[in-house]
């Protein structure tokens, strides 16, 4: 069947979808958006957390058909455009670097291997696979400018280790910040942060840096909004 919905602000359609496929499978394997992760595929780990309309859900438990006509926002849609993934999702410019390079520096190229399928949404050849940590690792990251506050804070606090839980946590944390300081409320306390993240498992960090990152993002957003309010 054909399923049409919007992802990160762009209308998309997936064809030949088996009715049994999950939204997660459609995102990862048909739309070239593998950022949402497949750690348990049973709704128990939160690594596939996405926005479905205005609330966060586990994409692995949403039947693809249930997403029809809805708005989906994934980790790829958190950063300001033009995010690479967002550009890929839009299929707009197709400017996605040298295709098939598994290493960001192209040295280990060879196999046409990429993250996620080539699809209507564009090839993802610029994505570094595996140990390829990125070619130029000068300390100032030009991408950092476009990151959302939670993304920046996760990097600054060391909340990312293996990173497999990170996309789901970022979406969940993004939602918390939006619903608290983003809605004019105070910076959430640690207990509130922990309760909001209780559905996201992390095996690497012990959560301390994650809680600190969410707090930092909320504080920063709070300060930014307070600054805007001043005459």
């Amino acid at each position: 069947m054909r399923v049409e919905f919007t992802v990160n602000g762009h209308a998309v359609a997936a064809d030949d979808v088996w009715p049994g496929e999950s939204l997660l499978f459609v995102l990862r394997e048909r739309l070239g958006l593998p950022g949402s992760k497949n750690a348990c595929e049973q709704g128990e780990c939160g690594s596939c957390t996405v926005y479905l309309d205005d609330v966060t859900v586990c994409a692995c438990l949403v039947a693809a058909g249930q997403a029809a006509g809805r708005r989906v926002r994934t980790v790829e849609g958190l950063a300001a455009q033009p995010a690479r993934a967002g550009a890929g999702a839009a299929g707009a410019d197709g400017g996605v670097g040298e295709a098939g390079g598994i290493g960001a520096d192209g040295r280990a190229g060879g196999a046409a291997v990429a993250a996620g399928p080539g699809s209507a949404l564009g090839a993802r050849g610029d994505t570094a696979a595996g140990g390829a940590a990125g070619a130029d690792t000068g300390q100032r990251d030009p991408d950092a400018e476009r990151l959302s506050p939670v993304q920046r804070a996760f990097l600054e606090e060391g909340a990312v280790q293996c990173g497999f839980c990170t996309p789901g946590l970022l979406v969940q944390a993004h939602d918390l910040v939006a619903r608290t300081v983003g809605a004019g409320g105070p910076v959430p306390g640690d207990a509130h942060i922990r309760e909001a993240l209780a559905g996201n498992l992390c095996r690497c960090t012990g959560y301390q840096a994650i809680v600190a990152a969410v707090r930092r993002a909320a504080e920063r957003e709070h300060a930014r909004l307070a600054g805007q309010e001043r005459p």
Binding site: R28, P34, G35, K37, N38, A39, E41, Q42, E44, T74, V75, E76, R84, A85, I102, G103, D105, R107, A108, A112, V113, A114, A115, T127, A128, A129, G130, G131, A133, G134, T137, G138, Q139, D141, L147, Q151, F154, L155, E156, G158, Q161, C162, G163, F164, P167, D190, A191, R194, E195, L197, A198, N200, L201, C202, R203, C204, T205, G206, Y207, Q208
Partner: protein
């Protein structure tokens, strides 16, 4: 470290004990600018927060097929018949392979080649691979599996590790002589390694009974450790791509690329150079990826179909598809004098290795050699056994045999303190090892190991505020049981407990432990760039960051690039045993030093460096330095830009790094300097226990760890947090439930790991007494906190409840019920 956040700010460097600073010459760079000692951002961080980092399960290739594995439903059975024809007839199925399709070696193994690629005659654990399929959609592959007919004749399972070890009538899991066990490991029956240790009078013909009479107090305990799972969030997965030269390119999440290559190639009947392995993004490892999982299967299917094949386990399959931490049965006896000085110890350690050896022999060696823990005990008898059963195979997990032993010896220290009516810290202080102490293997501790100082620091850490005095306004999340509302008021009792863990770092027992680094320096776009190439697996720990820091420090360059980790460079060894900072860090440092020497020579040859210069480049002692993209001559001469020195030259050097040699353990006496380096962590746990309902809330889990040198303070503290949390999980909730050889909780619904609500804020204090044997004086940090957290939490619950609590994980009924 002060409470809460990691010691990231340069303004608050980790406190060092007086006199503990590493030699000045080792500080080749200021701890700023992204070099050693700084906490620069992870090079893979932005990709990871934008969802663009490609994990092994994210890979995709044109024309790709999906592989899937048929697994045994029985823990022990003979395979009578396999019929793959019905599966092959399903449209969309491209290959169905059994053991008959394995062209090369039918078995592989990390230490012992005993594990079939696909089971031939016998299955020895529930979940053992029997056949693999490749199809055009995962759902097609799943249906193909359903159509494969396998007739089994069910055999008696061997589920009880103690029976497997000691009952001569127990059925054998492997026929005698069918697996290549090493004679020096004392194999016998189902025992694949028995490692004894005898010291003092117990090595001189006296018995434990003799010593028991000489002790003022004797404590004995039987302890059990349940089977823990690494629970990496990233599932086992990878993509095999057939190559035109008849070989295969494998992109996979692993801990050790070359060990994969070494095991895969013979099974495929290919020379190693035709099996090229590249690291794909790794979603956590913790030991689970040291053994092969889907590697050979994906390669077989790719070579058979001529198409790329991707295999991704789901969570249930992941529980069957990787090794676990060995469950352990411990019987410990300790005798001491009335003043608390330990006299003797007699230990029996039985580790359930499951159906195949994996790393069980090495785990036995660690459990035996560290079974006494960090205590001076003049007379000791240790017997550690690793056995085959038909339970799920067990192998590496963070802590590697030392975790199980640590729960035993630390429980015994608390018992001893109770028997002597002595403070638990005091008992530990009386017997603490330090530099110069001798381990029961005869190995002398020749690096600083300030255990007494660490204990005192842990004891001096500020305590969390007492449980809420006014129950009317208690935050329910601050009570045992969390938002469930359990754990209220008067039934909540606080307890405090300590744990000390001693862990060997790097590979032990004579293993040729080494790592390789290739470093190239060249000018790109007018700027000097160092390219670092190793085969070391970044599994989340941040090794990629460290490699860059070392290159910046040693070469004085701002820009460093990392080549993808693959097998086109020499082995880096495994990302395990807390060894990569030391080993690959050492290799990168050595390669950089070689590059630097050539750069200096080049400068000299080009007349850019007057005179002969200093010999000790890189140091602050008057030699030539590389800094800020420049070559800095001695004596205040003007720096020369590296771009100018290099011109078009490409300077590349490859170096292997080895730690000092270690010795095997004597198979009879257990003597031998088996360890290259030791690490230690002390934990203090504070818990609130609802003694009525058996619920525990860990209020604080604070650590003091000796790290030698903090190369990246923020990442280092992250390792300690994460390691401690896995120890907390083992203490309170994590257990793979195996009933009659079958895993009963292969999901994250039923196998519980700590959530953010189960883990308290963790204070970490880092000591830096440099180890002169190691690069920069560092010690690996990932494992020691996993050891010490478990007994600390259990000790705290014991303190709150007065119960013996001899088995982990603790359950509500262990705590609350008669």
């Amino acid at each position: 470290m002060t409470p809460g956040p990691a010691p990231t700010a340069p303004a608050a460097p980790p406190p060092s004990a007086p006199g503990s600073a590493p030699p000045a010459g080792e500080r080749a760079a200021e701890p700023a600018g992204g070099g050693v000692g700084d906490s620069p951002p992870r090079p893979d961080g932005t990709l990871k927060v934008t969802g663009e980092f490609a994990y092994s399960s994210d890979l995709w290739a044109e024309n790709m097929l999906w592989g899937m594995t048929l697994r045994s439903p029985h823990p022990h059975a003979r395979i009578v018949r396999v019929d793959t024809a019905p599966a092959l007839r399903l449209p969309g199925v491209h290959a169905v392979l059994t053991h008959e399709d394995v062209p090369g070696e039918p078995r592989y193994g990390l230490e012992v080649r005993d594990q079939p690629v696909l089971a031939a005659e016998t299955v020895r654990y529930r979940g053992e691979p029997v056949a693999v399929v490749a199809a055009d959609h995962p759902e097609t592959a799943r249906r193909a599996l359903e159509r494969i007919v396998v007739d089994y004749e069910v055999l008696e399972p061997v589920c009880d590790a103690r029976r497997a070890a000691f009952d001569p009538d127990c059925p054998l899991v492997h026929p005698p002589g069918s697996v290549p066990l090493r004679p020096e490991h004392n194999p016998r029956g189902n025992v694949l390694r028995h490692q004894p240790i005898r010291t003092g009078d117990l090595a001189r013909g006296r018995t434990v009974a003799d010593l028991r009479e000489r002790a003022d107090v004797v404590v004995t305990g039987s302890y059990e450790v349940g089977m823990q799972d690494q629970a990496c969030l990233g599932p086992e997965s990878g993509l095999a791509v057939p190559a035109e030269d008849g070989g295969v390119d494998l992109y996979v999440a692993t801990q050790w690329l070359h060990a994969d290559q070494r095991q895969i190639a013979p099974c495929l009947g290919l020379p190693p150079e035709l099996v090229r392995v590249t690291l794909a993004g790794v979603g956590g490892a913790f030991g689970a990826r040291e053994d092969l999982s889907m590697q050979v299967h994906a390669c077989l299917l790719a070579l058979r179909t001529g198409r790329p094949v991707k295999i991704v386990y789901n969570r249930e399959e992941s529980f069957y598809g990787h090794v676990h931490r060995h469950p352990a049965h411990l019987r410990f006896e300790h005798g001491a004098a009335a003043d608390g000085r330990l006299l003797y110890a007699a230990l029996e350690i039985v580790l359930d290795g499951g159906a195949y050896a994996s790393t069980t022999p090495a785990v036995v060696g660690v459990a035996a050699s560290l079974g006494l823990g960090p205590y001076e005990i003049p007379h000791a008898a240790v017997d550690a056994y690793g056995v085959y059963t038909t339970n799920p195979p067990c192998g590496a997990m963070r802590g590697f045999g030392a975790v199980q032993a640590c729960f035993g010896y630390e429980s015994q220290m608390d018992r001893l303190a109770e028997a002597l009516d002595m403070d638990p810290v005091e008992v530990r202080l009386r017997n603490a090892v330090g530099r110069g102490s001798v381990l029961p293997t005869g190995q002398r501790i020749d690096a600083p190991l300030p255990m007494a100082e660490m204990l005192e620091r842990a004891r001096a850490l500020p305590m969390p505020p007492p449980p809420e005095a006014a129950p009317g306004r208690v935050d329910p999340l601050a009570l045992p049981g969390g938002a469930g509302g359990a754990g209220v008021g008067a039934s909540v009792v606080r307890g405090v407990g300590y744990g000390v863990g001693l862990k060997n770092l790097c590979f032990s027992e004579g293993f040729d432990d080494h790592s390789t680094a290739r470093v190239r320096l060249e000018v790109v776009g007018g700027v000097p760039v160092a390219l670092v190439h190793t085969a070391a697996a970044e599994v989340g720990q941040g090794l990629v960051t460290l490699q860059e820091q070392i290159a910046r420090t040693e070469l004085g360059v701002r820009r460093v690039a990392l080549h993808p980790a693959d097998t086109s460079v020499g082995s880096a060894g495994s990302s395990s045993a807390s060894r990569q900072s030391h080993m690959t860090g050492g290799a990168v440092k050595a390669a950089c030093e070689a590059v630097r020497a050539r750069v200096v020579a080049l400068a000299r040859a080009r007349g850019l460096l007057a005179g002969e210069g200093g010999g000790a480049v890189g140091g602050a002692d008057g030699g030539v330095r590389l800094a800020a993209d420049c070559l800095v001559p001695p004596g205040g001469a003007a720096p020369v830009p590296l771009a100018e020195v290099l011109g078009d030259a490409v300077v590349e050097e490859t170096r292997e790094f080895r730690h000092r040699p270690t010795s095997p353990l004597d198979p009879v006496t257990g003597q031998g300097s088996s360890h290259a380096q030791l690490g230690m962590c002390v934990h203090r746990a504070v818990v609130d226990v609802d003694v009525e309902l058996g619920l525990v809330r860990v209020v604080a889990l604070d650590a003091v760890q000796e790290v030698g040198r903090a190369l990246h303070p923020r990442q280092l503290v992250g390792q300690i947090h994460g390691g401690a949390t896995q120890g907390l999980g083992l203490a309170l909730m994590e257990e793979v439930q195996v009933a009659d050889g079958v895993i009963r909780n292969p999901s994250f619904t039923d196998y519980l790991i700590p959530t953010v609500l189960d883990v308290p804020p963790m204070r970490v204090e880092v000591l830096e007494h440099a180890d002169p044997q190691a690069p920069y004086g560092l010690r690996g940090a990932g494992e020691p906190p996993t050891l010490s957290a478990t007994p600390a939490v259990v000790a705290a619950v014991r303190a709150a409840t007065g119960r013996p609590l001899t088995r982990v994980p603790l359950r509500p009924e262990d705590i609350a019920l008669p």
